[in-house]
């Protein structure tokens, strides 16, 4: 495995360069995981992409660098402490920094010679390939896919010039990737929605969720989706509820601050039993916080958001494949139980790219069956939209499709959907809605277990830290110390507790690993199971925890 970081200012084109390099690595047979660290500005500042690649599947970033490409001095000083002994630093001849492992290239000159002064980053791509001992034969076709024809030839030449200008340092061995996709968490979630048969998406731009809006906008025609940029998040969610009411599978995407504005409507979905999928792509709060960074601090918030009580489902997607399948499943669950389903992701997962096996549309397709909203009665007097049923699920008809009129109401209502103030009906309706939770529990997916079955210590985590936790567990269990295991939750509310009860009873200690400062998963576990975590590994600086940091955390806990 190799780890290379490309750092520079916003506007240096790091995103484009990383995107091209990643695709070349994919086409050359490598597995890779690539993350983004961007500041909240359009030009200047300091951004980087961190690409880890090799001949094994990989699902987290690591801290130690084998190579560092820097567009300015600041980037070098910010990252030099992460350089491994044999690491190289690649930069332009003009930068007045120097050291043992510096490889300096006259990028400007080479780019100019290649025919386009703006192709400097392509020169570096060529150089990087050479440095890692990777053939540049995939470069041309990738450049062709990614760049406009006008500048293609110059960039192909630039890559070649870069390749020629550097010497081999490492001999990266490619893997056996076949039918392997390279995609971001955001792409995966959006395509999961497509698999879930999404018909309507509305949103207000907000990092890091805006990529979803852009994805659906670009494909609304091909996939038959009504997509609208709303005037605010309140409009976005109320639009989605209006569309869903007519039978269109509907979704909104946002981040915590936008979710906050959707809270009132969440309760409306709850009482009116209108299916909806809400994606909260988390970033560090409170409030505007660190808008382009990552955190998992909306869990407590989303499981109890909105006044009053109603069943809901919260799924914290774990990785890119999970984002795909769970998003499709979210539509299925929302429709089946007529509840809001909240998908928690975060900036790390949404913006990071990974190589995974081709996603299985067949597997996902069972979630995508079109809404089965049939006329259930031929005359209005017989149709009970909110029929009191054993499992709490009432017949859901679509207006216009049903011979009967269909009502939706934010007030408490009777079986027909007519407003009521009756105490008896109120109790019956609350109980009916609450009964849905029992059915939801039968559908819950238990967390993944990683590690040693005889572990003494059990780590618990949720969502995007799964990859790092898994890798940390693997590394630790090879070290011959106390064995550890880990449960990584994706379905998180209602909390599936079977494996938790099973494993916790066998270990001496439970430790929560979370990307927040108060241990929100541990709180939820206490509330639902009375099981305490007696140690915590918490990170809340807006940067994602790595396997290395988890191992450090264990050391600090004397585990």
């Amino acid at each position: 495995m190799f780890n290379v970081l490309i750092g520079g200012a916003a506007g240096d084109g790091i995103e484009t360069m990383a995107g091209i390099l990643e695709k070349i690595l994919l086409r050359s047979g490598f597995y890779l995981f690539s993350m983004r660290d961007f500041m909240s500005r359009v030009r200047g500042g300091h951004n980087f992409a961190l690409i880890r690649f090799g001949n094994q599947p990989v699902s987290a970033h690591r801290d130690t660098l084998d190579g560092l490409v820097v567009f300015n001095k600041e980037s070098y000083f910010l990252h030099k402490d992460c350089l491994s002994k044999n690491a190289f630093v690649l930069c332009d001849k003009s930068l007045d920094i120097a050291g043992r492992n510096f490889i300096k290239i006259d990028g400007k000159k080479l780019a100019k010679e290649a025919g386009n002064p703006k192709s400097i980053s392509t020169v570096y791509i060529g150089a990087l390939l050479k440095l890692f001992g990777i053939s540049d034969k995939a470069a041309a076709s990738v450049l062709q896919e990614k760049l406009p024809p006008k500048i293609l030839d110059a960039n192909i030449a630039a890559a070649k010039k870069g390749y020629a200008a550097a010497d081999r340092r490492f001999s990266a061995k490619a893997g056996t990737t076949k039918n392997t996709m390279l995609l971001t968490g955001s792409d995966a979630m959006a395509m999961g929605a497509l698999a879930g048969n999404i018909r309507f998406y509305s949103a207000y731009p907000m990092s890091p969720s805006t990529t979803l809006l852009e994805f659906f906008s670009a494909r609304s025609g091909a996939f038959r989706i009504g997509v609208e940029q709303a005037e605010d998040e309140i409009a976005a969610v109320n639009m989605a509820l209006g569309a869903s009411y007519t039978g269109a599978r509907s979704m909104v995407g946002t981040s915590g601050g936008g979710f906050a504005l959707m809270v009132e409507a969440l309760g409306f979905a709850g009482i009116a039993e209108i299916p909806i999928v809400i994606a909260d792509i988390q970033r560090p709060g409170p409030s505007t916080g660190l808008p382009t960074r990552t955190e998992q601090s909306d869990l407590s918030f989303v499981i109890s958001a909105s006044q009053g009580e109603f069943p809901r489902i919260v799924i914290a997607v774990k990785d890119h494949a999970d984002a795909f399948y769970q998003t499709a499943r979210a539509f299925y669950l929302a429709e089946k139980y007529q509840v809001p389903v909240i998908l928690l992701s975060d900036q790390y997962l949404a913006d990071s790219a990974v190589t995974i096996p081709l996603l299985d549309t067949k597997k996902a397709s069972r979630y995508g069956a079109p809404a089965a909203r049939k006329p259930t009665a031929t005359a209005m007097q017989d149709y009970l939209r909110y029929k009191l049923t054993k499992n709490g699920i009432s017949p859901l008809a679509a207006p216009g499709k049903s011979v009967s009129a269909v009502r939706a109401d934010s007030d408490e209502h009777d079986e027909r959907g007519v407003i009521t103030e009756s105490a008896e009906v109120r109790i019956a309706m609350t109980d009916k809605r609450n009964r849905k939770t029992a059915g939801i529990r039968t559908e819950l997916q238990e967390p993944d277990f990683f590690g040693d079955q005889d572990a003494e210590v059990l780590l618990v985590g949720f969502g995007s830290t799964a990859g790092a936790i898994k890798e940390a567990v693997e590394i630790r269990n090879k070290q011959g110390k106390k064995k550890i295991g880990a449960l990584c939750f994706s379905d998180v509310y209602p909390l599936p507790a079977e494996k938790l009860l099973e494993h916790s009873s066998k270990v001496r200690q439970m430790v929560n690993v979370e990307q927040n400062s108060t241990g929100q998963l541990a709180k939820l576990i206490r509330q639902e199971t009375l099981l305490p975590c007696t140690g915590s590994i918490l990170k809340y600086d807006g940067r994602q925890i790595s396997p290395d940091e988890i191992l450090d955390g264990l050391k600090q806990l004397k585990i």
Binding site: F223, A243, A248, E264, P399, I419
Partner: protein, 282 residues
């Protein structure tokens, strides 16, 4: 009880409330449309006016206070075969819902918006609404210490393509305007003067009756500047009628790549479209 008539049921309004005439007129207009109840969707927010859809035999969506428009527009987007009509209050439409009012005018989706403008918050028992008379003009228990909004002028400024005013005390006029609004292709606003007998002691039936008059027979609603002038007349005389109407592409017409006549809700992505997309990530 036939299911193709829009009968109305018992209401929770105060006897004598201006809402009754709006309800009756709407029911008669609906009956004249020759559609079935299932083809009509009535949407409301929260408030006395917003309760209307509970009293009519048709699809009914009673959403959140101030949020009727986004839900109504999206329902129309998802199923264009529905005739979508919003009935809600002045507080709901211009207060809590003010931002949606502005931006849904810009969308020009083919829906109708009837605002029961009683110049007061009725359901919450008499606070001033954005259209309540200014205290400097007509001091009262619930007058507006800030300057009131003129919703018609605002709609015109935001680019609305159908802007009208009517009065619940003139059912014939109201029926005519309602029909025209429903027939209009695009977003149609009708601000309906509606006395609240319980809380608005200023803008009463008598107050409106004295002042309201119909726009001249030869008034041409095609001139926006003229419309802006006329809709600001408010004092001894209050004109009612269609101030402005214009043709403009609707929400659906602006997006021909998505809307092809078949409601979205009845469509699906072409088989094989997703696998094809996935392959682009290889």
């Amino acid at each position: 009880m036939k299911n193709n008539t829009f009968y109305s049921t018992e209401t929770a309004w105060c006897p004598g409330c201006g809402n009754f005439a709006i309800l009756e007129t709407l029911v008669s207009v609906l009956n004249s449309l020759k559609k079935e109840p299932r083809e009509i969707l009535l949407v409301g927010g929260i408030g006395q006016a917003a309760k209307l859809n509970q009293y009519v035999n048709a699809n009914g969506f009673s959403g959140l206070h101030g949020r009727a428009l986004p839900a109504a527009v999206a329902a129309k987007i998802a199923n264009e075969s529905l005739t979508v009509i919003v009935n809600t209050g002045d507080g709901d439409s211009y207060g809590e819902g003010g931002n949606h009012f502005l931006h849904n005018i810009r969308r020009n989706a083919d829906i109708t918006h009837f605002v029961h403008n009683n110049q007061i918050y009725g359901l919450t028992k008499g606070q001033p609404s954005p259209t309540s008379a200014a205290c400097s003009d007509l001091p009262s228990a619930a007058c507006n210490i800030n300057s009131p909004l003129n919703p018609l002028l605002l709609a015109l400024a935001a680019g609305a393509t159908f802007v009208a005013r009517s009065f619940s005390g003139n059912e014939a006029h109201l029926a005519r305007i309602m029909k025209a609004a429903v027939a209009h292709k695009g977003y149609a606003l009708v601000d309906i003067l509606q006395p609240c007998i319980s809380f608005n002691k200023v803008n009463t039936f008598a107050y409106y009756n004295e002042r309201v008059y119909e726009l001249e027979k030869d008034y041409k609603p095609s001139n926006r500047e003229k419309a802006m002038q006329r809709c600001t007349e408010w004092g001894k005389k209050i004109p009612i009628g269609i101030f402005y109407q214009a043709k403009a592409p609707t929400f659906h017409e602006r997006r021909p790549e998505i809307f092809n006549g078949t409601p979205l809700v009845d469509q699906a992505a072409k088989a094989g479209e997703l696998p094809k997309l996935l392959k682009t990530f290889l």
